[in-house]
């Protein structure tokens, strides 16, 4: 079964599901605004303006969301925050996806002793207090932007591996796999061309759950001062900054927090919808 054949029915069913349509539209809209918005506004996200700090949101001067404690425009910074947050989250999820799928598929397909050892290792890794290792990693590697993705991705792949392994085990028994083996396709070939396309459903659902997790982890790192660096920002960093100015300038908290909440909710509901679409009987 090719990748295309696996995707088509999913797309068809998704278009009929209301939740999926609404949520993905909202997300796409947010992403679009994040990309185009900065082009419309005359402000740059790093421009400080000490004369106009803490301005309320207003249509005047294109400060749609007001300004922050250094006079920087919040609208442009929020859009930047969205961009970076989504970027980090998607990349981190892809990292954990890549590791998880590869690991789980190999363990499930090869089976036997190899599977047993690999899964034992996963059990072992479950015991690692990952969040602590992430903190230590960030402290050790001085907040290299790339490492944020790696660290976040490294937390999440375990669940993915387990699920993928389970799926692979059941897929292994199917006829098309036997057929491929008869023809003489190599093991890696089977895994790549026959097993993984069928994992698409599970994988997509999981992605929509890992992404919000990754977003929250990045916010947590910003809270500790270990996240994205100035003058760039993420939704988490904006929200953190907003908390310190809660009483004096509430919009600095409310606006990024609402955007963050919207993004998180959309991903969560999207995941629910996708789960309905891919697995109407099983609800795990």
């Amino acid at each position: 079964m090719s990748y295309l054949a696996a995707i088509k029915p999913l797309i068809r069913k998704s278009r009929e599901n209301k939740t999926i349509v609404v949520c993905s539209s909202i997300l796409l809209l947010i992403a679009a605004v994040a990309l185009i918005g900065p082009l419309l506004s005359p402000h740059h996200y790093a421009n400080t303006d000490f004369e106009n700090r803490f301005m309320l949101p207003s249509a005047r001067d294109w400060h749609l969301f007001g300004t922050d404690d250094l006079g920087r425009d919040l609208f442009v910074r929020t859009l930047l925050g969205v961009k970076i947050t989504l970027f980090v989250a998607i990349i981190a999820s892809c990292v954990s996806l890549g590791i998880g799928v590869a690991y789980g598929a190999i363990a499930g397909y090869v089976g036997g002793k190899v599977d047993a050892i690999m899964m034992r290792a996963v059990d072992a890794l479950y015991a690692m207090p990952f969040i602590f290792f992430v903190i230590l990693l960030m402290v050790v590697f001085e907040r290299n932007f790339l490492l944020i993705f790696v660290a976040i991705g490294a937390i999440n792949w375990l669940d993915m591996a387990r699920i993928v392994r389970g799926q692979t085990l059941s897929l292994k028994q199917r006829e098309f796999v036997d057929a491929a083996r008869l023809i003489g396709v190599s093991t890696p070939g089977i895994i790549l061309r026959h097993i993984t396309p069928n994992l698409l459903g599970v994988v997509v659902v999981y992605m929509t759950l890992t992404i919000p997790q990754a977003i929250l982890v990045e916010s947590f790192l910003s809270f500790l001062g270990l996240g994205v660096q100035e003058p760039q920002t993420s939704l988490g960093a904006l929200v953190n900054g907003g908390v310190s100015n809660m009483e004096g300038a509430p919009w600095l908290l409310l606006i990024p927090a609402m955007v963050l909440a919207l993004v998180l909710l959309c991903f969560n509901f999207l995941g629910d919808g996708l789960r309905d679409v891919t697995d109407p009987k099983k609800k795990s």
Binding site: P129, I131, V239, V243, D272
Partner: protein, 307 residues
């Protein structure tokens, strides 16, 4: 069952060693040492300090010295809190964190299940949407936003609850942290329960029971509840991990002298021994708790029990 448990615990020892070794390497790899400060010390004093804390030995030497102490139950002296040993610090902090975590978990389970059941039973009605909506705030608003807002409203403005760990009685000071910590888990559990309950309620044997004329309450109590709770059990592992992570933030914000706060201080101060001690503590806890969850799953799910 017992054999399985023992086997798991035994298998956990190499994991622990791996965890310790990794943590040890990482903390020592971090730039900066425990005694760095803006005030640079004269070289003779730096040497004295290095000698007193064995920092002048090679890394493998320090590692084995640490393991040796571990076998005797000695987690070493704290490099930062110089009057105390790590065991004492953890001994004081662990009960605090456990109290917080357990209460939050209980609240999350009770409130989450209640919310989920309510929503499931009145599926797609206003109540369902309302309850689900409120529950959703738990996962869409991060803890470090909820906590300061709660403190501002309930402590600073209303003066109903204390703003910190030392500001009130042993009961009142727990309310805000526990609620804040439980919120994200309430959301997940509510959703899980709702989805799971809806699934069970529409299953064949429940429909049969209903056709036979059983009241809704009896159906839930005797037929639906147990199977609906099963998926919840498999979420317990991640839930515990979630409480663990969340507790770090909550402890920091409320000034609670728990494990999470000590870990952050330890990591930032390069308090090697403290960090290692806490990592070991947590890893052990996680292993034990995961074991308990697995055992419970085995007990409660009749399909597995026959294994």
């Amino acid at each position: 069952m017992l054999r399985y448990a023992l086997w798991r615990i035994f298998g956990a020892i190499p994991t622990l060693l791996l965890v310790i070794a990794l943590a040890f390497l990482m903390v020592h790899a971090a730039p900066g040492g425990p005694f760095d400060a803006e005030r640079v010390l004269p070289p003779e004093i730096e040497e004295n300090i290095a000698r007193a804390y064995h920092l002048d030995e090679s890394l493998p030497q320090q590692f084995f010295r640490y393991l040796g102490g571990l076998v005797h139950g000695d987690l070493g002296p704290s490099y930062r809190y110089r009057d105390y040993s790590v065991s004492e610090l953890i001994g004081n902090a662990l009960p605090v964190s456990m109290q917080l975590g357990v209460l939050a978990m209980l609240l999350a389970i009770v409130a989450g299940i209640a919310a989920g059941l309510t929503a499931a039973l009145s599926k797609n009605s206003y109540i369902d949407r309302l309850v689900t909506g409120i529950a959703m705030t738990g996962i869409s608003v991060p803890v470090f936003v909820v906590a300061p807002v709660m403190i501002l409203v309930f402590a600073v403005y209303l003066h109903w609850l204390p703003a910190s760990w030392t500001g009130g009685t042993s009961i009142s000071r727990l309310i805000l942290p526990v609620v804040t910590l439980a919120l994200p888990q309430i959301a997940y559990i509510a959703r899980l329960t709702r989805a799971s309950m809806i699934g069970v309620l529409s299953s064949d044997y429940v429909r049969t029971a209903r056709a036979q004329g059983l009241k809704t309450f009896s159906i839930i109590r005797y037929h639906a509840l147990k199977p609906a709770m099963l998926p919840l059990l498999s979420y317990m592992g991640p839930a515990i991990a979630g409480i663990l992570t969340g507790s770090v933030v909550v402890e920091e914000i409320f000034g609670i002298p728990g494990i999470g706060q000590f870990f952050i201080r330890g990591a930032l101060n390069r308090d090697y021994t403290l960090v290692l001690g806490i990592v070991i503590c947590y890893a052990t806890l996680l292993i034990l708790l995961n074991l308990v969850v697995d055992l419970l799953y085995g007990i409660l799910d009749p399909r597995i029990r026959s294994r």
